[in-house]
Symmetry: C2
Subunit: 365 residues, 2 copies
Amino acid sequence: MYSLHSTPRHDGFHMPAEWAPHAQTWMVWPERTDNWRMGAKPAQAAFAEVARAIASFEPVTVCVSAAQYENASLQLDHPGIRVIEISSDDAWVRDTGPTFVINGQGGLRGVDWTFNAWGGFNGGLYWPWQRDDQVADKILGLERCPRYRTEGFVLEGGAIHVDGEGTVLTTEECLLNSNRNPELARQEIELMLADYLNIEKVIWLPYGLFNDETDGHIDNFCCFIRPGEVLLAWTDDEDDPNYQRCHAALKVLQASRDAQGRDLVVHRMPIPGPLYATAEECVGVDRVTGTQPRDPSIRLAGSYVNFLIVNDGIVVPGFDEPEDQAALDILQELFPERRVVMVPGREILLGGGNVHCITQQQPAR
Amino acid sequence: MYSLHSTPRHDGFHMPAEWAPHAQTWMVWPERTDNWRMGAKPAQAAFAEVARAIASFEPVTVCVSAAQYENASLQLDHPGIRVIEISSDDAWVRDTGPTFVINGQGGLRGVDWTFNAWGGFNGGLYWPWQRDDQVADKILGLERCPRYRTEGFVLEGGAIHVDGEGTVLTTEECLLNSNRNPELARQEIELMLADYLNIEKVIWLPYGLFNDETDGHIDNFCCFIRPGEVLLAWTDDEDDPNYQRCHAALKVLQASRDAQGRDLVVHRMPIPGPLYATAEECVGVDRVTGTQPRDPSIRLAGSYVNFLIVNDGIVVPGFDEPEDQAALDILQELFPERRVVMVPGREILLGGGNVHCITQQQPAR
């Protein structure tokens, strides 16, 4: 439709917290066979299960290529799921979709961040990524939402979490990485976040989860559960490479105040595993030079923090691990007013992310 | 979203007349180089001009392939035009898009006719046509409209015109053609039209315009302008192959009553030309076996009847011919309450149709 040349902050728009009411959730159908094993069929089944789980709470729109349109339509045949044609390079709409912003008066717009496949030619996960970079524009056009395009400023939606009251949570590992916005200093990045999310305060955790191929996205590691409270992936095992990461994060969180001046309550979520792909799971991935290798020796960045908050619910990945039940219990206790649903997350994890990474909420006007 | 297994008639839905209020108009971006000369660039410019003309009256959505998304978005940069990704085999949304039906109580649904590229392997214009056959489904899904799929019943939107009061106008040349629904008798086809358009009366003209590659679509030949009144393409030149066609149609129209029992007032619209493509215009079309040949010796089926009624307006093709002014005057007199806009129609005609063929109105709820 049309692009705006101001900023959300200037226009009185801000990114609401994930727990604010949604109009719908967006997803993208997985199909690239050099990332998803066995022609992406197990992943498609897993994505369909996520879509159906969300659709029991709120409408879902799934974007799919022309080639997969018929198959996806049949697999997603559900009155709460809309299948539309939008092509992409992979299926991570958290990172390629728009960040929706609202003004509290019925206005809905979107931020279309520049996308470079998590690092461009300096450690990015694939090339080309042009179709992925168009996803946000296409979604916003389709919803007739005016668009803020951050020409040249690289950010993925999975790299930020907001509390809706002026605070954003992110990681230095990702946002200060030389493969994102190397020409910008920390303070300049803070200004961009302030302008486009309309926040007052950035809380920088040093790292995300170990071996997260996104360079430490916050959404696989730590999130707000309500204003003043966060949930942090946690291990007490000193031999786990995540040990230092969790403790470094805790230290920052305990020393931080949010934009409203509150101290933060930190809840802890056990990290499952350690999880690894089996040799069998790695065999069915097309081998293409330059894409992320899949190998049984590489630890998977599995995390229960990678859940999505939906209207009246929580959709969280499970891994058939002993920690699954604890994760469910923790979430149900933290969100007593929501129904917590666990969906099989392993196939999504094998591709490099989980429920939160493959979804993007569209707030209600 | 979901398909219905009943019929519009059963559910109290009907196709409104084109002059009923619209929510928007749909178009599809042209790009196939074996139908549109010079890489489809002149046609794209012409389609963009049609889109802008319509957008001055009502919203427009243009469907475009992934490959042409960026180019189309830039060429169609206009606050009233939405560009979305829907792939297709060509650009005739009148024939590939849904026929929208309403119930007068806010309900909006769509009929998704089976499409076979105007004749399938028996005189059809290209193969494959699978993407074209999916266009209606995709549009309806996108608009969250429940869908009536006429499995196996072939019809194009350009083959019908309704008065919104129980009457449909069509041609035997098209609907009784052995390349559409050869297994159905005239009465069975009438029953299908009755069920899916919710009409009571079919008026069958013997033919459409001479050399119309759609096998005589009504929308290039004769249309309702209001209940009880039609506009018929006309020539008084006995040597014109259209002479017999026009007079045969007039005879039927003068002998017909509509569903409400009214006699029909028949207005006449001069046929421009005769029009032919120049050798230069034919050179830039890719030559592919089995597609429609483009040759300066083949008469073009140019017609001013191929206009679109939009909210408060009429968008009609012009041909830089002496009859252009008469056509404008006739339409302005027939539609005194609407603003009549003439757009360059020659490039669209070279591809085999005109303004009405490349548009599909979505009625207001």
